[in-house]
Symmetry: D2
Subunit: 347 residues, 4 copies
């Protein structure tokens, strides 16, 4: 059974695991206040060119998003997100469980547009504001749930509309490395720090055992975040695990290398599928691709491959997702392409 | 300045106020455990033909809705509502502040359809249920935010889809009397008790100083609701105020008389506007009507009349709302029609 | 059955009710933005000598307290209260339901002391602050749950310790009028505004049908409180009811007159009981007194009187509470004294 | 710098880490639904003799406790805990952030007694229940925050009082292995499953990188816990990390071996200190001991050792904590004893 199910099917990149092995018996203070976390935070501040930023290491993405909501928002403030946004769809109402509404807008290619943000705010500035939530934080992810990426101009435009309307811009970077290494990307690491009030850099989906780094650039958002992290059960006792892993992942730019491989595998797969005449639901330059196959093909592929079902499509077809990772062997891609070819040829 | 702003611009119907005056110096126990609340609850159980129902008296609609959410739902459960639903739009995220998501669907004439409910549930039964909220309670209001009403068949169909999908049906009856007395209505009071798991009967918008009666039919939802009411700051010390008012409002079916008057005034206005060639955004048989006027007319009317702005419309026009109540004098309707006629004639 | 159960057994003072009657058919805007609320707010700002304060009218005390917690605190911040404080004991966890801890300390005569506040803060400043809640708001009530009152020096000392330790001082004035008119009181209305960051003035327990006025003096606490009020279901549609009542209650200092009567009745009762040799659990100069009676007497009194059981006491005795109000007739006090005398003489 | 600061200063036991290394490149499904989690859950059900129990793997203790509160309690229900309990003191109000009150009672040797539970419930069953929270879940930990342990009779007595009073019994087993291997312990693993409705088995403080196993015995508490886990950001994407580690820790009873070592080191230290004439704040048979030293000694020890300050003590002294772990070398204990001896001799 070959897995194209997600980018967290395997453990950590060997160099990340090696760092855990090497430091295993060292004795350090807990709760992320050790020197490894400090080194990793410094390295992230350097890579993202935000020397004054606060960096917090967390275990997972939903956790990071809910900590951000709890720490950054007041009770009457809401998040604006694409209707496909992770916080809107796939977190079991984690944001609402902190008391905040997620107000959703249609996406364009998985992305939130400045026009949508403007409309979302307009929907709530109608003269009866106190009867409505106050949109306060814009949530975007790069790459998006559909594997698409923001251009620098797009992110700048979101920044501009946020500034104009008094909104915070928060970016979920669970797959930020996939975005940064994608064909067509023109964002640099430092752009995220310049354009966002806060964002997180994903490790779980990019070759760490687990770990996300929340980077807070806006000074107003910095105080008491560790208290929220503890309150939400998100503070690791052996917090150095996060620092050790991030330090290893960012040494010699391993984080980009792992992401580049994942992207390359997915793009080889995408090209191969297109060559076979398969339709893609949305063009994605990163490590998630979304072919539309006849249901018959989908079922047949399940015998040997793991992948996600996304949605039914017209004509007895389905949109599915193939997701690659730093660990996806090229031969698995080849095997999948062969299998698809065989199935499609049976038409 | 004549008000068509809402149906809570005045105090109480004189007979309701009279009851408060007459009982004012009596000494009773507090927190709604007095005999007036008991009498009123009995009367409501009789009118709605649900002798076994629990009846709780609350102060306002948002409060009632949030108590229902807190009492009836578990943390991972969500409400399904029309995107125009009061809980979705006009309660400053009150439901989310109890930790629950409101999942919105497009409305048809302000109403939620069984197909929309089915789609909402389908959106969350995708094989990754534990990553998504669980739709559990369907929220509808009758009359709706647009003044439209459900037919018996429509409410029955919602009941059926709820039963099939394991959902609770909750009806916000802030304007239930307006619905029951509207032309075209074929629902009877007892239908609400038969079709809903819980619903509330509005007093604030129907001639009481304040007050809503939450009627819980489904036995599973009955325990500990008073605890939630107290916890949410919704339990009146002098709770008998609610019983006294409801008892007065339901004596000799005053509640229907007041609603009939409100409807009649709005319908006279609607007919008058149509006679003047004005367009209505949505046909409503109750006490809220939604004309579309040139902005010039809207502005001119503001000099002498209070009303709500709803939304911009095409061609330099706006949708506004005229709302009538038990207290709206017919001469105010006449005055408004004259003013509209004059303004429209200036075209 | 004569009631000494609480100070909210009757309706409103006739002059308060009269004001509701007189204004009943007037048409005003809703949600407390009418001229009556404005007048009442102005009057309260005048009486409490805080011309810059924000004044919000709410329905009940628990509601007011939970709105204050939700509006004034960040998620990791806690309230410090006496273990007998209303927020700690009698609100079904309303504060916790907004996500905040109430940290309790022993009381002295029902009162919180600066030493207790200092100790509470010390308990949380131990070098692991982020693992503990941050005490942020001190909750006191005047009069207290035991009917006792703060002296000016005591409240000043709490103010001082709060300033020193970076805490907000919030005063629950459900019975502030009883405190202000008690023998031994040396606080003036303006002192509350000078010493507290926010406080509320109770109407429900002092001759209004319902209503509390939240007065916010500290500028930092003012923004967005109306949003919280709406979100917590605490905004009355016919909000003017609150303004009308407060305006009537504060006209010609009726609020002090009603409280003075309540106090006088309780103190007559206390003196009478002492004359009969009865023991009082705690000396209270306000409208709540706490005799300790043999259980036999308690039971016998229940035949004709309503009152609260507080706690068992040594020697087959019980602490009970007699509570008087603006509406307690002197003959009821006399009747109660006669009954107690008769019961005690049966010893 | 030698660490006696806590039992999570190092990484994982080599055999645990080895298991992570060996399985690192395997591809499995995510979110704890892999075969390693299944194996580990089976093993825990076997060890604790609860074949029908649900087992969920979480990352940390605060997280596990808050998931239990959110999943097991309704909004008006409260936890009863010792005032020293972790949920009461060291979780930044995590339980309150889920909306629930923690009602604290004095401890005896760090333990909650049946009498205290009975009193806590009695405090809330006073005839005004709906104005108070409803105590519903008793929280205990074994070993306790002071390193003490429950006897079987004590835990049975808690079980009995819980059953009598309609309470759930929840046990925080962050250090359950330390308890089970302590001198004087007469509880067996199966006792926890028989006596508790739910409990968790700690891995973080017992040689895992991280990980706690929540074991739910009471059928009523089982449904939808995974949804809560996801909602609270507590579901690991690469969830198998937890299964792999627990499986390794429980193979050949490594979990008891690691705990035995930690206990032995602490007890050697305790005996050594007693031999030196040092006073212990509380007798503890597990891996945490609490000597009382002159402040001068405390300060001097800080030069070479890490440990926790607990509280000031009489006579310019302090209570501190020495905590040992599976990884504490015996020579560190010897070094600490030598240093204490030297400091004390300087008196």
């Amino acid at each position: 059974m070959l897995s194209f199910l997600n980018d967290y099917s395997e453990g950590a990149h060997p160099r990340v695991l090696q760092a855990l092995n090497e430091t295993n018996l060292e004795s350090t203070v807990g709760y992320g206040q050790d020197e490894y976390c400090e080194m990793a935070a410094d390295r992230l501040r350097e890579v993202f060119a935000c020397p004054e930023a606060d960096v917090h290491f967390l275990v997972g993405g939903t956790q990071t998003n809910l900590v951000a909501a709890a720490a950054f928002l007041r009770p009457w403030e809401a998040i604006v997100a694409a209707e496909s946004g992770h916080v809107a769809v796939h977190e079991t109402g984690a944001i609402e469980a902190t008391g905040h509404k997620v107000y959703v807008m249609p996406n364009e290619n998985g992305k939130l547009t400045p026009a949508a943000v403007r409309r979302a705010v307009g929907d709530h500035r109608t003269g009866v504001e106190e009867h409505m939530v106050l949109p306060r934080m814009v949530y975007v992810s790069d790459s998006t749930e559909f594997g698409t990426i923001y251009t620098r101009a797009e992110l700048q435009a979101l920044r501009d509309v946020c500034r104009e309307l008094g909104l915070l811009l928060y970016l979920d970077g669970a797959r930020i490395a996939a975005a940064l290494t994608a064909e067509g990307n023109d964002l640099k690491p430092e752009d995220f720090a310049q354009l966002c009030d806060a964002f997180y850099v994903g490790g779980t989906k990019n070759a760490m055992l687990f770990g996300e780094a929340l980077i807070i650039v806006n000074d107003d958002l910095k105080p008491f975040v560790r208290n929220v992290i503890k309150q939400r059960g998100a503070m690791m006792a052996k917090g150095r695990m996060l620092g050790v892993q991030f330090e290893a992942l960012f040494r010699d730019d391993l984080w980009l290398e792992t992401a580049r491989h994942a992207n390359a595998m997915a793009q080889k797969l995408a090209q191969g599928l297109k060559d076979l005449g398969a339709e893609l639901y949305m063009a994605s330059p990163t490590n998630q691709i979304f072919p539309i196959f006849p249901n018959r093909v989908v079922e047949a592929l399940r015998a040997d491959f793991r992948f996600d079902f996304i949605a039914p499509a017209e004509g007895d077809r389905s949109v599915i997702r193939f997701c690659t990772s730093w660990a996806t062997p090229e031969e698995n891609v080849d095997a999948l392409l062969r299998a698809v070819k065989e199935q499609l040829s049976r038409n």
